[in-house]
Each structure stands twice: as structure tokens, then as C-alpha cells.
Amino acid sequence: MNAKELIARRIAREIAPGALVNLGIGLPSLVARYVPAERGVFFQAENGVIGLGGLPPEGLENPSLTDAGAGFVALVPGAASIDSAMSFALIRGGHVDATVLGGLQVDEAGHLANWMVPGKMVPGMGGAMDLATGAARVIVGMQHSAKGESKIVRRCTLPLTTLRRVDLVVTELAVIEPTDAGLVLRERAPGVSVEAVLAETEAALVVPDEVPEMVLA
């Protein structure tokens, strides 16, 4: 199992039955694979659909039915199409129960930076700022480090996505919860020690007496 699969399978366990969930493109989109259909979760894409349902049969794609990454999709029965104003009313209004977003950095205040690297990558924030600000629960799924540097930092050096504290961070090493008392190490990946997590983390982590291993979906 690679890092991305582990992260996606851990996050899948956070998704409550019947929830309305928005998955970012890239790693977060993998989460859908591990949420069982019986759970009755509705996946939203910000371009205007509630009830994404995997890939269409080859040759039966509809050019007017894509996800936020412009890939062809199918729908579950009971799906609804909406316009962008309604889509973001749902997002900003807290009607989206959870969003899973990728991250470039998360810091000790629980602040997320995930939309640009000045001078290098200026893709635009798309729906990320609205999702990170408005969704009832914001879960960040990202690799713990990039190019040898921890992405869990003391203070974000990249431009912030929102001032709102994210609710949970899941990496291939750990589950971390930003709280009033700082970043709490809630779980470690199977076979990874607390010490190993601390060694890979720039930010200070609060370590409870018990740090159980992750259970995966």
C-alpha cells in the first residue's frame, strides 16, 4: 500500500453515513474508493453536481457531466445538478458536511496553505478558499513531507487559504488534530513510532499518553 492509498483509506473512516462530501482533485479524490456505497454518502463537485458516482461506461460518457477536474463521471440515483451560485451556497453555508483538501503546509495554528507558491505555481484558488472556510468539517490529506521538508510547520510560510482552523490532518505517518492547545498527535500509521512522527515534523506536536495505530477502511 502506498502513502496515498493509506491516507485515503484512513480519511474514508471519517466520512459519516448520509454526509454531503466534497473531495478535492488529486489525492483527496481517492477517498471515494474506500467509502462503501451502503453508507449513503453524497459526493459533491463544486462545478455543480451532488451525487457523483464513479466512472461512466466507456463510450457512454456525456460531455456535460464532469467532475471539478474536468473528468467524465457518472451519477448515483437521486443525484441533483445545480448552478455555481447554489453550489457555493452549499459550500460556504456549511451544508457540505466535510471536505477533503490537499495541502502544501499546515501550521501549529491549524492554518492551511494549499493554493499557491509565490513565483512558482499560481494556479488560482478555484473553490479551495470557500471550501476551507465554509465546509462544516475540513480534513487535509497530504504527504507528511515534500522534498525532505516537513509540511507540518510551525507557521505557514506560503500564502494561507483561510484563517479558519482545519479540523484534521491525515498523512502517511500520522493523524493530527489542530486544537486550542496546538497540534495533537491522535494516531500513528501502522508500524510507525511516535518518535518517527516527531522526527519528521517541524511543528511542535502535543503527544497524549495513548497514540493508537490508525485503523484503515
Partner: protein, 216 residues
């Protein structure tokens, strides 16, 4: 509805330097024949207000490639390397706006509002130069209305008087920009007689539409 236009005739009515609201999300729901006609008439100095600039060869991406665009107001250019290159070269000015804020600003403009207060962007680079207004102890950004000279709409069905429907994820910005363009031009996949779209299925009332694009 004032009449149906050939794409070339519609493109002639859109002068260089115009501001255009264009529907679509990565090209889905974008009026492609309208775009092609603008490229064909070598339109220049356009301001494009849209969710994204699609990718080269598709929708708004064709306008970027053709050098028709001077300025874009958009939430995302990440999938169009040409927009990014032209931005870095100083050929295109890019104003990045959070997607939910962009659609609310357009709705404000079309609905006669003076703006909306949103929490999105507070404490980020998006806040720069904007007024922060406190309401009941919470802080919000004041985001101002957007309107444009033209709104170019991609619809699923249109009846002869311009009532429109949209299909699945091709709704996106289209029903909202129909409120905010001083002239509204719609291109539909299918044209229907008046009365063939039930009142409850109409998503954009024909009274908002100035011209339909003739079928090819």
C-alpha cells in the same frame, strides 16, 4: 429576445475591448461556436470574466491562444499553461477570485445589489485592498458587484423566445451570468418551439436573452 444571429454576426457586434462574462467550467457549458467566431474575427483586448480559462484548444482556451484576451477575472488558470505564460510575460492581466466569491459578485451585479459580505478570503491575499466589515462580532470581506458588456451563454435547450435549460454540470456559471451581461447571447444545443419547455423547467427566462446564436 431580439432575434437569432449567425455566429459571425454576433462576433461583429462584440467590439474589441469589450468585457465578456462567459459560461462554462473547464469548457463544459461554454458556447464553443461563439468562441470560434470571436477567434475567426480576430477579436482583441477582451476582458474575460469566467470560472477558468479551460485548456488550450477548448472554450476560453481558444481565445487565450489567439491573443484575443487582455485581462481575465477568474478563479483558476492552473490547467491552462498558456494563460500562465502570458500572465508571466505581462500579456494578460489576471485577477484571481475565489470561485464562490466570483459567482456571488456576478450575481450581485445582475441582481441590483451593491455587494455581499463573505468570510472567504479573510486574512489571505484576497483581502488586500478590500473593506473588512464587522457584523455581530464576525469579520467579512465586502465583495463588489461585477457586470459586463456581454454575457455569452452555453445552454442545452432554447425556445424561440430565449427560454433556456441547462444539462447536468453544464449549468455552472451560465444561469447567473445571464443576469449580469448588458447584452446576453445564448448558444443552445437544441432549439424548440415556444411552449415546448415547461415553465418549471426554464432555468433562464427568455426576457433576459437578447440574441440566440443560429444553429450551424
Amino acid at each position: 429576445m431580439k432575434g437569432a444571429l449567425k455566429p459571425e454576426a454576433a462576433a461583429e457586434r462584440i467590439p474589441d475591448g469589450s468585457s465578456l462574462l462567459i459560461g462554462g467550467f473547464m469548457g463544459v457549458g461554454t458556447p464553443e461556436r461563439m468562441i470560434d467566431a470571436l477567434v475567426a474575427r480576430q477579436a482583441r483586448e477582451l476582458t474575460v470574466i469566467a470560472n477558468d480559462t479551460a485548456n488550450p484548444g477548448r472554450g476560453i482556451g481558444k481565445l487565450i491562444t489567439a491573443g484575443a484576451v487582455r485581462r481575465v477575472v477568474t478563479s483558476h488558470i492552473g490547467l491552462n499553461p498558456e494563460t500562465q505564460a502570458k500572465m508571466l510575460a505581462g500579456e494578460i492581466a489576471v485577477e484571481l477570485v475565489p470561485q464562490g466569491t466570483l459567482i456571488e459578485r456576478i450575481r450581485s451585479g445582475g441582481a441590483g445589489l451593491g455587494g455581499v459580505l463573505t468570510p472567504t478570503g479573510l486574512g489571505t491575499e484576497v483581502e488586500e485592498g478590500k473593506r473588512v466589515i464587522e457584523v455581530e462580532g464576525k469579520r467579512f470581506l465586502l465583495e463588489l458587484p461585477i457586470t459586463a458588456d456581454f454575457a455569452l451563454i452555453g445552454a442545452h435547450q432554447a425556445d424561440y423566445i430565449g427560454n433556456l435549460t441547462y444539462s447536468l454540470t453544464a449549468h455552472n456559471f451560465n444561469p447567473i451570468i445571464a443576469l449580469a451581461g448588458r447584452v446576453v447571447i445564448a448558444e443552445a444545443e437544441h432549439y424548440l418551439p415556444v411552449g415546448a419547455i415547461p415553465p418549471d423547467a426554464v432555468k433562464t427566462p427568455g426576457v433576459l436573452v437578447d440574441h440566440l446564436l443560429m444553429r450551424g
